[in-house]
Amino acid sequence: MNVLELQHLKKYYATHRAVDDISFSIPKGSIFGLLGPNGAGKTTLLRMITGIIYPDAGEVLFDGRPFDPHNDIQYIGYMPEERGLYKKMKVGEQVMYLAQLKGLSAKEARQKIDYWFNRFEITSWSNKKIEELSKGMQQKVQFISTVMHHPKLLILDEPFSGLDPINSQLIQDEIFQLAKGGTTIIFSTHRMEQVEEICDHIVLVNKGKKVLDGPVKQIRQDFKHHLYRVSLESMPNPAQMATHHFTIVKQHENGYTVKINEYSKTNDILAHFLHHDIQVTYFEEILPTIHEVFIQQVKTTDMEAAAVN
């Protein structure tokens, strides 16, 4: 079942089309990556999902029903890219305030605060003012205030920026925990290595349009260049490498990067080396990283857009 479904969302501003007919759906419990270069329309999209702004056209379905900002807002947790907390407020009061605005009673909020503050080992900060905390510490407080009310849908815009590796790992673990508990997570970022590590699904947007949509594994398969990396115990003489199954793309110190020919199968490559009795020490298909797919796709769409103009 899909927690969130966007159907032909459009948001036009006077000068540009921030979101131009985007549709996708997010299955329950998945970690969903929303990628795109700066100014692609990600924030506008997220703001429409959180009910901060209304789409000009199209519909947002939440839990199968049309999104009702008034009620559904309490099932959503949103951590914007630009963090915001009241600087002069004490940490405990701040989190309590935001939790109550999400509809938690003071008592519930108290329990949750105890739970999360213990978990993040920040109980001692409770009476400190936000402005006394470091950026990373503030980020932890912000994360807690976003997940306090146990949202069905958690939207994190660049959740790791400004965090050291240890805290980064801490937040990442929490994200996995929440997803296991059934929370759906939308994760917006530029950091592609994290996308591969964390996300199940991604959507790539550029210039207000959806460019790509699918499971991470599937996308890497779809965009592969049919390359393989072969490491060998000893380099054979060039004559031994002649075959109609693959062509050599690059020669390494201890092997080759090869591109498989059409109609050939992976095992045909291995069979070739076995046939010549060359010892294979390492063999792997080279899949493009999401980073590479991202850059390639953004460039392609930019070029298409330029051609249209």
Partner: protein
């Protein structure tokens, strides 16, 4: 709505708990009191005018007694030499009256370092004129004692309205002035407080977190009402101070007179003071003044606070933006205080009447008129029209402000033009 209440509570508590709130609340009445008392303390003999008089004919000798702030001192000296040395001798000026014929007055000259103060010129001319006039009357055959009999000293007692209430325009003037000025300060101080609050939320990017939990309108109204609560608490404290003065100070003064029977003079003096104080308290209809003050205080605040919130939502990081954007809002408030200064002198003039009806200026101007009496000076229709337009006014400004605010708090980077803001107002949600 529960959420708006949570916001109101936070906005209220964070401000009331501040030390600066307690200090300013208690300090402002003291500041006001000292504004009234201090000027009289500063008038000391150091600032008095010491005027050396060279009277060539000796006509004025003994006829220029010292008066408040001016001391006349007749000197026998030559004008040419004394002109150069009078300042070294501690005089602020030198008055030269040449030889004169009572019917043909010569040019009287006053030498001083800088320009002669306006008030000094007035009182000096009046003094010299009356001496000459006395002399001329005497010459016309009017006896001096008869002259004293002819002179009259009149003070008008004013009975206002059908009840012939004994009032004092002086008290009304002072109370009107203070109330009008207080409202003026409230509009600016609390308006700015709302604006700074909104700017804080926008520049700290809390606004985005907040509007993912509550509607922008709730956020704006929560802030406005919360800060109104702060103002109300201040109002209650100030009212308590007035009532406290009324209840505590007066009997205290009365008791003093009984006990200190030793000095008949001081008893008389403090008795007179008590009478004056009682007169001040009784000549104003506090039971209509205080609720009306509360109404115009809240109405005016709500009218302007929404506009200040809208402006705060338009400001980016640059504080210069704030200044240029607040100008269109502070301008009518300043106009209001200018009209108020007129209205408190002439409370029934056209300017005062319309100034107290149009909601941009009515909170300040009306408060200057009300102490003169309702319905005597301010007829019921004017009061009613003024109150209704203020309510309609703040509903309108809140509606407009909400539209601007909703878009403004999420806009970053570029500076908005007035045209764009206009579009936001008329755009459907």
């Amino acid at each position: 709505m529960n959420k708006i209440w949570i916001i109101i509570k936070r906005e209220f508590l964070t401000r009331v708990r501040k030390k600066s709130f307690i200090v300013t609340t208690l300090l402002l009445p003291i500041l006001f009191a000292s504004m009234i008392v201090l000027p009289s303390l500063f008038i000391n003999s150091d600032n008095d005018e010491k005027v050396a008089v060279i009277d060539d004919s000796g006509f004025f000798a003994g006829k220029l007694p010292d008066e408040k702030g001016i001391h006349y001192n007749f000197v026998e000296a030559k004008l040419d030499t004394f002109k150069k040395s009078y300042r070294d001798r501690g005089y602020t000026g030198l008055l030269h009256i040449p030889k004169m014929d009572i019917n043909r007055l010569p040019a009287i000259v006053y030498y001083s370092k800088g320009q002669m103060p306006f008030s000094l010129r007035g009182s000096m001319e009046k003094r010299l004129e009356s001496v000459i006039e006395d002399k001329r009357m005497e010459m016309a055959g009017i006896d001096k004692s008869k002259l004293e009999d002819i002179r009259a000293d009149i003070s008008i007692e004013n009975l206002a309205g059908e009840a012939e209430k004994k009032g004092s325009s002086t008290v009304a003037y002072i109370v009107g002035w203070i109330s009008g000025f207080l409202i003026y300060i409230v509009l600016l101080v609390f308006g700015m407080m709302v604006m700074r609050g909104v700017m804080e939320e926008k520049t700290n990017r809390i606004a985005e977190v907040m509007v993912s939990s509550v509607k922008p309108f709730q956020l704006m109204m929560g802030k406005i009402i919360g800060i109104a609560g702060v103002g109300l608490v201040q109002f209650i404290i100030w009212t308590a101070i007035i009532i406290g003065l009324r209840l505590l100070l007066l009997p205290l003064l009365g008791a003093d007179t009984d006990v200190s029977a030793a000095g008949q003079m001081s008893a008389n003096a403090s008795g007179k003071f008590k009478e004056q104080m009682e007169f001040v308290f009784n000549s104003i209809d506090w039971f209509s003044l205080l609720p009306l003050f509360l109404f115009y205080f809240l109405g005016g605040y709500l009218f302007y606070a929404a506009l200040f919130a809208a402006v705060g939502s338009l400001v980016n990081e640059d504080p210069n933006d704030a200044q240029s954007l607040t100008f269109p809002i502070t301008l009518p408030i300043i106009v209001a205080i200018i009209i108020m200064i007129q209205a408190v002198v002439k409370p029934t003039s056209q300017l005062a009447v319309w100034g107290s009806i149009i909601p941009f200026t009515s909170p300040v101007v009306m408060m200057a008129r009300i102490p003169y009496g309702v319905p005597g000076t301010v007829p019921y229709w004017q009061l009613g029209l003024s109150m209704i337009s203020l309510i309609a006014g703040f509903l309108a400004t809140t509606w407009v402000a909400a539209k601007i605010y909703r878009t403004g708090i999420l806009m970053y980077g570029k500076k908005v033009t007035l045209g764009e803001v206009g579009k936001w107002i008329f755009r459907k949600s």
